[in-house]
Amino acid sequence: MISSPRLSCKTGFYYVFLYGSLICFLVIFMLPLLWVLGLSLKTREQIFTTPPLFLWRPTLENYFTVLSEKNFLISFWNSFLVTTSTVLVSLFAGIPAAYTIARYRFPGRKLIFFSLLVMRMLPPIAALLPLYVMFSFGGLINTRISLVLAYTTFSLPIIVWVTRDFFKTVPRDLEEAAYMDGASRTGAFLRVALPLAKPGITTAAILSMLLAWNDFIFAAILTNNATRTAPVLLSTYAGSETGTDWGAIAASGILVLLPVIVFSLIAQRHLVSGLSSGSINDARVA
């Protein structure tokens, strides 16, 4: 913290300046989203007025329209299915590896570890093209399974990196005590380390969930009308120009964002260090 003793006795002007700039940034970063939230609560006539309307009686009409629309519900359901499956698959595959990488030294450990980082960092479009070829030969194009497989390219590294960091914070003594009591390696992992790393596993799961939910590029190519996810459906609204139903677009956008906001706030403490894939230590900001 860079607040010196001298600063604390500065005049109120300094505080006005600080809060002024903070609020200024807040407006820049929040207003666009709040405005769209506003659009979703307006009727068609209220949206297309010049100058724009700043005070009105909010209506939920757009939400009723969107939630009764089959396309939206299907895509939402697809997003949900693909996201949960991605998280589960990556958790099952990734957690044992994360534990072993954190606890044991074995040849190839660093290689696996950094290959996973590279996997997360390389541009998805580069993996998408060969995956498309593979899936079309395997008959998996336009299935949700192909999407889950494609999503493990970013979700598996996140899970391994984040949970490894948490396994490292579990004191080794506890497992050693378990070994003294006759526990096996598997037993020490499942009964001692795993329960203690639970917060880390939750964080990792939320992070990979958010990334899978937010993905567009893989879903745009690997799905069709029946299997497309919510972001893909939303992107089809962008092509059409004014005259389309802004209220419905805004309402669908807000509905897609709701889970994102809820889960981001749950995982807020570890979001930044998770998103930087362990390249910084312990970025707990709030």
């Binding site: 949206i47 595959a93 980082l117 037993g187």
Partner: protein, 315 residues
């Protein structure tokens, strides 16, 4: 048959009675312990090889071949570097490469400047500062497609809020120069909060004693920032720089929704180029070559990142 039955039975009665069953389980446990490292590593290695290692190898091979997706795989001819030569002879690709490098440099610089400013503000010890820190998480995590869609509505020349506030109808996404700036601006809007929170974590980890000592020695605020804060923060700045470079270089979502590469290829970043070459022109070998050019560029940045991380974590 009998053999099979015995195994089946022991698995069921393992927990309550069978002595024999416990023995059997103990043997499995012993084996699992012996093979613990390979067994735990295997799923991750297998899955990542299948969805990442193998595909990248495939695209590397494709980048040296003449082949189209409706032909059998074995019909592919090895053509050496022809695809790469074609690629660099394609003015659209070269323009796209330059554009992407420029776009990346500009957005990353802005994100770091804005992020640093916000991080300094958020680092003050003020009442309710937590509220501002948490609020910043929202734009950072917003689904990129939704963010781009929101901005598309906001920037609408007839009914958009931005043109109302500016006071004149500016066609943000229709003009070639302006479109690129606008698309980059939206990316800065979305990602500066991440940089801010990352640098804030750095600021909070600074050793307090050093800062206090400098203050007691009479360092001015500016001197403190230049000679104490900035050098101590540099590892975090480097990580922010590398990470954002990697992620801006792959820019796709915001561009796709807002301009789709247009007008007149003014926002045709490399990801969009590869996307169009693969899935509209279906020139998969040329697209593979282009994606390997992308991969090599990102891999270089990535190796620098790994080098900095290894320094931090020696074992």
């Amino acid at each position: 048959m009998r053999h099979h039955d015995r195994h089946h039975g022991s698995a069921i009665s393992a927990s309550n009675t069978g002595f024999r069953g416990r023995n059997y389980l103990a043997q499995i446990a012993k084996l699992a312990d012996f093979w613990f490292i390979p067994l735990t590593i295997f799923p991750t290695v297998a899955l990542s090889s299948a969805v990442f290692g193998f595909p990248l190898l495939l695209s590397l091979i494709m980048s040296f071949a003449a082949w189209s997706i409706d032909e059998p795989v074995l019909a592919a001819d090895f053509v050496g570097l022809r695809n790469y030569r074609d690629l660099f002879a394609d003015p659209v690709f070269v323009a796209s490469l330059c554009l992407t490098l420029g776009y990346t440099a500009a957005t990353v610089c802005l994100e770091i400047l804005v992020g640093l400013a916000i991080a300094m503000l958020l680092n003050q010890d003020l009442p309710y500062i937590r509220f501002f820190r948490i609020a910043l998480i929202v734009p950072m995590m917003v689904t990129p497609i939704v963010a781009a869609l929101c901005w598309k509505l906001l920037l609408d020349p007839t009914y958009g809020l931005v043109d109302y506030l500016v006071g004149s109808p500016i066609i943000w996404l229709g003009d070639p120069t302006l479109a690129l700036i606008t698309v980059g601006g939206v990316s800065v809007w979305q990602n500066a909060p991440f940089v801010a929170l990352l640098l804030l974590a750095g600021l909070q980890s600074l050793p307090k004693e050093v800062v206090e000592a400098a203050t007691i020695d009479g360092a001015t605020k500016i001197a403190l920032f230049r000679h104490v804060t900035l050098p101590l923060l540099s590892p975090y700045l480097l990580v922010a720089l590398l990470l954002r470079t990697i992620f801006e270089f792959r820019a796709f979502d915001n561009v796709y929704v807002m301009t789709a590469g247009g007008p007149a290829n003014a926002t045709l970043v490399l990801s969009i180029y590869v996307y169009q070459t693969s899935f509209f022109s279906f020139d998969l070998t040329l697209a593979s070559a282009a994606s390997w050019v992308m991969l090599l560029i990102v891999l270089t940045v990535c190796l620098i990142l790994i080098a900095t991380m290894r320094r931090k974590e020696p074992d």
